[in-house]
Symmetry: C2
Subunit: 224 residues, 2 copies
DNA sequence: AAAAAAATTTAGACTAGACTAAAATATTTT
DNA sequence: AAAATATTTTAGTCTAGTCTAAATTTTTTT
């Protein structure tokens, strides 16, 4: 039995939930990610369990099997490589590529993705700074922290985002905080957990907690 | 109501049949192209007629409406541009790209295809020599003839194929008759309609009627 | 440890797209 | 112009994926 696009999408949703919580993914959580009803999720979980892509215990949530994990990783790899293609080669902005990659990731074909990877120069990260697993499913590790967790006085470079919504990404563009932008954390305001930062080009910005909790920074060695 | 992938595939099949015959496409003909049953075709024809993409008269066959024609043309444009991408950029051979393009042609997204077209340098023809309609749906005309229709003594260049099967394309590769190859028609054998040709690099080949009826040649001016 | 609330599953129904078998309509042959 | 044949449509069924409403199970509150 081939794996359908709907099944692939569920696998990805389960992977993403498991990644965060490291606990079995619950029906309602999956329903929220998939924007569908809990009843539909239950139906699909049975199908995925039949295909041995998840282990499913009624009322207890699900976990990916090894095969399910392998497929999810491959799917994320495909998604992120297509995102690189769309930005690097076709000139799309980082807030425009998600929906297209969501479709492209389902294209099936021998050797397609490895050729694409090669054509793109084997990129390690996608346009949002997310790592791209290699053909064996291994991830590049990177030392980055949410801006929200840093101490005043530290300095770093924007390396990723947690929120991939177009509105957030466009707001970052407006602030001049694309990937690679330098920021120094000047001050934290305990009242609402907003912060004041200085950008690489010398501007000062105040960022809300919502921003600091969605922006990844790689620290620069303080010696530099 | 959005147009589904299945509907798009039927539109393309109807377009291709109409292109050849210039008569209404009949149920069985569509069933043959779609590799499905006549009953399934009838079901789909009703849906397409509801959506005003075809005009359908029971037992009488179908014709594309203006909108149906526009959509089919756009679909062919997408298919052929993706084929160019797969060969030119990813290095696939001309006999490997059909199934992938069959999937890629259904990707929906604002500006995607025009960006792709631009990235590829606005190619006029796909890897099989088929013309690619432009964004307005206009076709590049090219003066080419089936090898089967040429007279001995004429000389030309391979510009296209009618049969897109991998076996035919691989056979042409083996014969050294890729797009752009030179051929002079030396002799026709009335018995089985096979022909003897000389290739650009001086080899002599005998080609069966099946080959000559699937190979397009653009005549060289005899003065050259 | 009941009762209340929340989460999940079941039951039953719907649509798109396919199928087979049977009925209806067209076309071809005699 | 009938009869025979070929084509097409209808009728009824199936699956994947969705839905709502009702029933069940788990968790939380009292």
């Amino acid at each position: 039995m081939p794996i359908t696009q709907a099944e692939e999408n569920y696998l990805k949703a389960i992977f993403k939930i498991a990644e965060k919580d490291d606990k079995p993914a619950l029906t309602n959580a999956i329903a929220a990610v998939m924007q569908t009803s809990a009843a539909s999720v239950t139906d699909m979980l049975k199908r995925l369990a039949d295909k041995q892509l998840i282990t499913y215990e009624k009322y207890r949530g699900v976990q990916l099997t090894e095969e399910g994990h392998r497929l999810s990783t491959a799917l994320i790899r495909r998604h992120r490589l297509w995102e690189v293609f769309l930005t690097e080669k076709l000139g799309f902005a980082w807030d425009e590529v998600h929906d297209l990659a969501e479709q492209l990731e389902h294209i099936q074909g021998n050797g397609l993705i490895d050729r694409l990877d090669n054509f793109l120069g084997n990129p390690g990260f996608d346009p949002h700074g997310d790592p791209i697993p290699n053909a064996e499913g291994h991830w590049t590790y990177r030392n980055q922290s949410l801006l929200a967790t840093l101490q005043p006085g530290t300095q770093g470079v924007v390396t990723g985002v947690d929120d991939h919504s177009a509105t957030f990404l466009q707001y970052l563009d407006q602030l001049g905080l694309a990937l690679g932008a330098q920021v120094s954390l000047l001050e934290q305001f305990p009242y609402d957990h907003s912060v004041r930062v200085r950008t690489g080009d010398g501007r000062e910005l105040v960022l809300s907690e919502k921003v600091t909790k969605n922006l990844y920074i790689k620290l620069l060695e303080s010696g530099n």
